[in-house]
């Protein structure tokens, strides 16, 4: 790999069309990512055909803008109306929505924008510098390690469940059960499909997510019969203060590392990354006891992680030709249609194109920052629209959006049922996040568990004899019993150090 060729890619900077393409991509991505029901994957899939006629560099500037924008945009609806625009924004809604209810939506969006930009920027740097290295480590991950990673994700369900842990776990298992619907990936046996071809591929998690979040939230607002009270939004603090950023920097940095690494593992993706980032904040963050009540730390962690996972997911795609998540799978199709098949050959021989991709990503991070901060006021003003107008509009978007995912009325049915069930569960104080997370992680966990045992010939010790797998399992144990350990440590030092802590703290 020659550095000259790398620099050649820089010449694309001189091309104004690339700027325009990237800007448009980010803008469209944010809008579509923020609309409930339009996922990042779908946004990219829909726009790829528009790019066929364009120069590959220009078309990729646009598509990568869409990708970055859509992943970021999902957080806006998570904060404003408690509907994650994409699955990777689920963790964002845990603190983002409470912030909005306190009238601090603008501040939350501001923090989300800065964290996302940092996460995105960090992952692009890693992609530039260490892509082949990380890709080779990720290759060492076999089914056993995937079991470990999904278990980390699942164990965090117990950590983030507000209120009763038993209810959180029941919700998580309900999600895992929903995840078993469809053809059993190992034997091909159809489970719980009730003779419906639509269920062969399982229940799409997106309509369920929009249902249990969006519809259920609208239902409870409607049944409260109060359409006049509107939370007034403070708009003064949209651009985060230097003090806040300085305080959050360790959180954002940790989450960016987590996001990039998890993103680089094929199939793991942004939803696990943001969840793990939030979970570690809940376990080890300075203000963990306040997490879930609406603090900016809870927005910064998942947002830095999910945007860092975008660059991460491009690592295996660019270096090995293996898409890291559904979105990059679609992006890869777009490249192949352009006659450029990503993988080791492209990475070695088309250095100018590869560096143009890095540049596109950097551009899109910059545009995301600009558009996000400029738009935060407008976005948070949207929520002050009177509810008797806002609720019908959101509902109809949920309806049409879930139809549009697979062009299927079946999904609309799934959405409505999920909405009603989600509403009922809210009545009995169940939180819905564990259900969706269980549904997304469940199939990954089950297939890899069974695949591991097929690879090892039925030997369970394979999970502890492989170093990475063992390390992940230790993390799972730490996550689950972590608070107990911390308490023990605390108790020992309370006697002498607590006083200092109080004097030093805040």
């Amino acid at each position: 790999m020659s550095f000259d060729l790398y620099l050649e890619g820089l010449s694309y900077f001189a091309n104004p069309i690339m700027f325009i393409a990237s800007f448009l991509g980010v803008l469209v991505g944010i809008v579509f990512g923020a609309l409930p029901g339009l996922t990042a994957t779908m946004t990219i899939a829909v726009f790829i055909p528009f790019t066929f006629g364009l120069d590959p560099v220009i078309s990729f500037a646009f598509l990568l803008g869409l990708y970055t924008g859509a992943v970021y945009g999902g957080s806006i609806s998570a904060i404003l109306i408690n509907i994650p625009g994409t699955p990777s924004a689920i963790a964002t809604s845990l603190d983002g929505y409470p912030l909005c209810q306190k009238g601090r939506a603008g501040e939350a969006i501001g923090i989300s924008t800065v964290s996302s930009a940092f996460g995105g920027f960090f992952s692009v740097l890693v992609l530039c510098v260490a892509a082949p290295l990380i890709a080779n480590v990720a290759l060492k991950f076999s089914a056993e390690e995937y079991v470990g990673i999904t278990l980390i994700g699942l164990s965090i369900i117990a950590v983030i469940s507000p209120g009763s842990i038993v209810k959180g776990l029941i919700g998580g298992i309900l999600g895992l059960v929903l995840g078993t619907v469809g053809l059993d990936p190992i034997t091909g046996f159809p489970r719980m499909i009730f003779g419906r071809a639509e269920l062969l591929d399982g229940i799409d998690s997106i309509p369920v997510m929009i249902g249990v979040y969006g519809l259920a939230e609208m239902f409870s607002q409607i049944s409260k019969n109060d359409f006049k009270t509107v939370v007034s939004q403070k708009l003064s603090k949209v651009i985060p203060s230097g003090k806040d950023i300085k305080r959050l920097m360790p959180t954002i940095f940790r989450s960016s590392v987590i996001g990039t690494l998890i993103g680089a593992i094929p199939a793991a993706g942004g939803s696990i990354a943001s969840l793990v980032a939030y979970g570690q904040e809940k376990r080890f963050g300075k203000r963990r006891h306040l997490l879930g009540t609406g603090i900016i730390d809870g927005v910064a962690a998942p947002e830095a992680a999910n945007n860092a996972s975008t660059g991460g997911a491009l690592i295996p795609m660019m270096t090995l030709g293996i898409p890291g998540d559904p979105m990059t799978a679609v992006l890869m199709g777009g490249l192949i249609i352009q006659g450029l098949r990503p993988g080791p050959i492209l990475f070695q021989q088309q250095m100018p194109f590869v560096s143009s991709i890095f540049i596109s990503l950097l551009l899109s991070v910059v545009f995301m920052l600009v558009i996000g901060l400029a738009g935060a006021r407008i976005f948070s003003r949207l929520i002050t629209i009177r509810k008797n107008y806002l609720i019908p509009a959101i509902l109809v978007f949920c309806l049409v959006g879930s139809y549009a995912i697979n062009n299927s009325l079946f999904d609309v049915g799934v959405l409505i049922i999920a909405g009603i069930v989600g509403f009922l569960l809210k009545q009995v104080n169940f939180s819905v996040a564990p259900i969706i997370l269980g549904m997304i992680l469940g199939p990954l966990f089950e297939t890899n568990l069974r695949r591991s045992l097929m690879l090892s010939g039925g030997d369970w010790s394979t999970f502890v004899t492989r170093p990475f797998s063992l390390a992940f399992l230790i993390i799972v144990v730490l996550v689950l019993v972590g608070p107990l350990l911390l308490q023990l440590v605390r108790k020992q030092k309370t006697a002498c150090e607590d006083e200092e802590d109080e004097n030093g703290g805040v």
């Binding site: 090995l320 293996i322 679609v330 993988g343 080791p344």
Partner: protein, 323 residues
């Protein structure tokens, strides 16, 4: 309310009939043709169908609107093609998984419920191992497998899915026993081979080609009728004495009962398209082997695939778990 709904329902049922009734047909095609792809955007079929569709647009002078109707590993879209109006304005794409679906899914499309138009590509299966593995030739691999039955791990793309069928056929004809490990798709299976978690795979050429070229994987044989132009040194299974051709195909189909004249018009146009050097080089670059067969020859290809599956299921007792 009920009455109103009923009236609406009847109206909706009557509408398409009425619409068809008034249409006076001119020279086909005179309006936009919808192409249903039962697989996702950016997938194998999608990548090869889109350029062909836009070539047809120029050739036949109407729009070819590509719609991806995913779900049930292609079952949903394929059944949608079967149930579309057979006026020649809805066509679809097919591959071997349309044929194999009946062994794995309780609801499945039937290739005999559609009219074949033409085949456009073939994708040969291959025998590929990691470059770090001890096996330099096919003979060495088979000798090892025979000495250690059941120890080789073969990555496939899911039980009953294409790469599993190739692996089962390969095992049967060479007389070796392997441990079949299902992955979610070609990419995941190849990843496992790259990471050294499995020993070999029969996943087709496009997904292993660049790793073979970059030296991380080693292709021991290709399961096509002739050697592949990009890999002239890799022998075919036939040359090694195993008379078998394994691989997938992709082609166009129309709903049952579509006018034979219209099918011929489409078939001829696709034939011209596959002669265009630009299209050919695009397909080759993307890893496919362009191979045009007209509607009659295509029927033989499909019949071969069916016979192969029947043989696997009935003679070898390969089990597809079913109700």
């Amino acid at each position: 309310m009920k009455k109103g709904l009923l009236v609406l329902m009847i109206l909706a049922l009557v509408m398409p009939v009425f619409a068809n009734g008034v249409q006076e047909e001119g020279a086909y095609p005179e309006r936009d043709v919808t192409v249903i792809i039962p697989w996702s955007v950016g997938g194998m079929t999608d990548v090869l169908t889109r350029p062909i569709a836009s070539w047809l647009e120029k050739d036949l002078g109407v729009n070819f609107i590509v719609e991806n109707k995913t779900g049930g590993s292609g079952v949903v879209g394929s059944m949608l093609v079967e149930n579309s109006v057979n006026d020649g304005y809805t066509i679809g794409t097919t591959s071997m998984s349309t044929v194999s679906a009946k062994y794995v899914s309780p609801v499945y499309p039937d290739i005999h419920n559609v009219e074949l138009i033409s085949q456009v590509i073939t994708i040969p299966a291959a025998v590929t191992v990691n470059a770090d593995s001890p096996w330099q030739t096919l003979e060495e691999l088979i000798a090892f497998a025979k000495a250690n039955p059941g120890s080789l791990k073969n990555a496939n793309s899911g039980i009953g899915a294409s790469a599993f069928i190739y692996a089962a056929s390969f095992g049967a004809i060479t007389g070796i026993e392997m441990n079949h490990i299902p992955y979610a798709g070609y990419a995941e299976g190849v990843t496992a081979l790259l990471g050294g978690h499995v020993d070999l795979t029969n996943i087709p050429l496009p997904d292993v080609a660049q790793h073979v070229q970059s030296g991380t994987l080693r292709m021991l044989a290709v399961a096509s009728a002739e050697r592949h132009p990009d890999f002239p040194d890799v022998p075919t299974l036939k040359e090694k004495g195993y008379d078998i051709v394994l691989g997938n195909y992709s082609g166009f189909v129309a709903p049952k009962g579509t006018d034979a004249e219209k099918i011929k018009i489409l078939d001829d146009a696709i034939g011209r398209c596959l002669q265009d050097p630009a299209i050919r080089s695009f397909l080759l670059k993307a890893g496919y082997q362009p191979l045009y067969s007209n509607r009659v020859e295509f029927a033989a290809v499909v019949a071969d695939a069916e016979a192969q599956l029947e043989y696997l299921v009935n003679e070898l007792g390969i089990e597809f778990v079913d109700d």
